[in-house]
Symmetry: C2
Subunit: 459 residues, 2 copies
């Protein structure tokens, strides 16, 4: 009996070791294809330079739909198709104008309307400014805010190692600032750009209105201009300072758009689905290189690498280009809705929407058993220093899947976060700020994880 146990243990060990050798060799091949003959970089160049900014509902968003569909068709994926989805259609219109007035002196500053904001009155707004760091300070000011522009100027907390935590700690000013200011009678809102650095690029982003609360125009101000404005307000002459701004944005009727999906059909259990995705839309100010051209081209690259290696997954692998992550999440919602409606079986979904930087790891959302299971593969990722497999959020587009498809494991791709908010939602989010090797290593890391999930499940 003891002998048999030992024998079976020995057998178990040897097969485990054998499997590991095979897996480590497979990962090596995946990384080699990505690094030696990767396509993600040249695809990203096309998306950024030939198409460019692609806000939901825009002509460029439609171009991006058609282009990504064609790319996947040309790669010969088993099935490439579109999912119809109605998306918000907001347009910036003519470029914003803003200046600080100090008596007869005007200082031009750079702002950008927040996505979803209304325009200013046709002649612009001129008003005194109150600076606050947060909603508590605002509420203390009460009625004195009336008729003024509220200037939210809470910077990122630089102490967070993960810059997404700094973002989380500041972004409610952008999302909810207009509502909170309007409740007290403010006529406009100016929000410090959501970034670590001091420069002159305003960073746009989504904002919300609330039923029953007056809609007031809201704009992001560059951090350099925010520092200047704050300094002026605190100067002896602070009470004489006024701000002028004019923005010309509008919300048009919802537009028809699409999620774009490419599949490699599973060789054993084709009804079981593993999703890997990013979002195809971007803000209008930038090329949407890191946000989220990298996620899109990496997701396509995962399937392309599998084909290049003639690897036939057991389950169906889907690359999904979600539409409308930035200002509505309609694509993510539609994907989940159809998954539920069609009674699809989903094993896992992985999103890359934190930029195309050096891969550091993966975050597993709300699933301790998946975290434990996936953590067992850490040694396989060691040669590529993808070491941080931790509990955490996955991706905005994946959120709706949680309720729609119970049991699905949601995973976020986690690249190094230090540079992301330098360029996030700003005109500096361009192809030139993406490093080829970092992008390729990310694609390889994602492909490796999908390969392992396909073979061993996600939990």
């Amino acid at each position: 009996m003891k002998f048999l146990k030992l024998l079976s243990l020995a057998f178990l060990c040897s097969t485990t070791v054998a499997a590991q050798v095979t897996d480590s060799m497979m990962l090596r091949q995946i990384y080699d294809v990505a690094l030696m003959e990767g396509h993600s970089y040249k695809n990203l160049e096309h998306l950024c330079k030939q198409i460019g900014p692609r806000l939901s509902g825009s002509k460029n968003a439609q171009k991006a739909v058609e282009w990504s569909k064609k790319v996947m068709e040309d790669y010969g994926f088993d099935k490439v198709y579109l999912q119809e989805v109605m998306v918000p259609h907001w347009e910036r219109g003519a470029k914003e104008v803003a200046y600080i007035t100090e008596g007869s002196t005007k200082i031009l500053i750079r702002i950008a309307a927040l996505g979803g904001s209304i325009a200013s009155p046709v002649g612009g707004i001129t008003a005194k400014v109150v600076e606050v760091k947060n909603f508590e300070e605002l509420r203390v000011m009460g009625e004195s805010v009336k008729g003024k522009i509220v200037f939210f100027n809470r910077p990122f907390d630089a102490r967070f190692f993960d810059t997404f935590e700094a973002y989380s700690g500041a972004v409610n000013q952008r999302g909810q600032g207009a509502v909170e200011a309007a409740k007290l009678g403010a006529v406009g809102v100016i929000v410090r750009s959501m970034t670590n650095i001091i420069d002159d690029n305003p960073h746009t982003g989504g904002m919300r209105y609330q039923e029953g609360v007056t809609k007031i125009p809201a704009a992001a101000i560059s951090t350099k201009a925010a520092e200047l404005l704050s300094q002026k307000l605190r100067s002896g002459n602070g009470s004489a300072i006024k701000l002028y701004f004019k923005q010309n944005c509008q919300t048009l009727p919802d537009a028809l758009s699409y999620n774009v999906i490419g599949e490699i059909r599973g060789s054993v259990t084709p009804d079981n689905i593993i999703t890997v995705g990013g979002h195809l839309d971007s803000w209008d100010l930038a090329e949407g290189a890191h946000d989220d051209g990298t996620g899109v081209t990496q997701s396509i690259e995962v399937l392309r690498i599998f084909k290049a290696l003639k690897f036939k997954p057991q389950n169906t692998i889907r690359a999904v280009m979600f539409m409308n992550e930035e200002n509505g999440l309609r694509g993510g919602a539609k994907y989940a809705e159809l998954a539920k409606q069609n009674n699809e079986k989903h094993i896992a979904a992985l999103e890359s929407d934190e930029g195309g930087f050096t891969p550091r790891g993966f975050t597993i959302e709300d699933s301790p058993s998946a975290l434990a299971h996936i953590s067992k593969w850490k040694s396989l990722f060691e040669p590529y220093k993808v070491s941080d497999i931790e509990a955490g959020g996955s991706g905005s587009d994946l959120g709706p899947l949680k309720n729609a498809v119970p049991g699905i494991v949601l995973i976020g791709f986690k690249p190094d976060s230090q540079r992301y908010f330098d360029i996030h939602h700003a005109s500096s989010d361009v192809f030139e700020n993406v490093n080829k090797r970092e992008l390729e290593l990310g694609a390889a890391s994602m492909a490796s994880l999908i390969y392992l999930i396909d073979k061993y499940g996600a939990k």
Copy 2:
């Protein structure tokens, strides 16, 4: 007896835990100072933008000596001084000219003389070109190389995760190529730039001659031009291809220069020294931002952070700006020579010379006991994801210390390597390509390690 043992064990545990809490709090403070009120970025900006390229023996190198001395004096370090060292003095002279000729067609290409090379004849060289990947291929060609220009075109192997391994696998073409080609009668050498990317910046770097072998001019060619030249040579018309190049460099008599040293004197054992350093010289084509302005400003920042925190190290901590790492290593040799001559006691030395990118870890050179000792601090670095504490090389400037000061532990700072060779030794190594947070995290990681070594020793 047993009870006493348990009691002492409990005491030991509690003090260990307490020490860890204190240490983790101290590291948190170090990172906070670096991230919230760091000076490394603005110091780097000065070094890059107000001084710029600073090859050994140049006026700018002298300016960098004076500037870094003054910076450390202004910070009020306990002692700031210079170490005299004679350095090579090589000058590029007028910009190189090079073109491919194909019949009557001339295609201008970008090259840069390698550091230490002789000039071409005054009228330039025109010759046929033989392309080789390595010295074996060259030797097989034998006499047929005579009178020709040898074109070394072995690219980086993209499969290495650590780009320094790709560099190691390619750099002998640059260092030794002229000697090997001259032995067979070649009249010049053109070497593919040492980089992963394809662009039009030639990357210079050091090369050697050998006594008894004819000196022939040697230059780096941009990777884009290398691809073009290779393609031309392989085309049907390949035998008609010639290359023209002219370079105007010269080696002047050795010049007087300096290592620049700042110290915080140890409060308990001031005769025991811990060194942290980078090199002050750079190649002439670039601002030397990542190579090695970042190492210089980070090393100064380590001491500045200690002062800002009013932390008094037990041992003397020295920030050393080595002179002449790039083309002679004379500063490193001098530092070791004087350490030996003065019978100094050195605990450890840490060099930052792999760029100012996100810190990934430290490499410990030839000391298993130090590796084991320092690895025990891994959990303290976990919040900052500085996880790779491994055996490996330290830094070129530290090498001479190994024999000069037996027992010293040599350590290399290891940032993420993906972007380094994009800009290494090229005109693109500028301040704008350094990320503030990445730089600051590096300085904090270095300060944290020095703090721990000061407290617990290096092995």
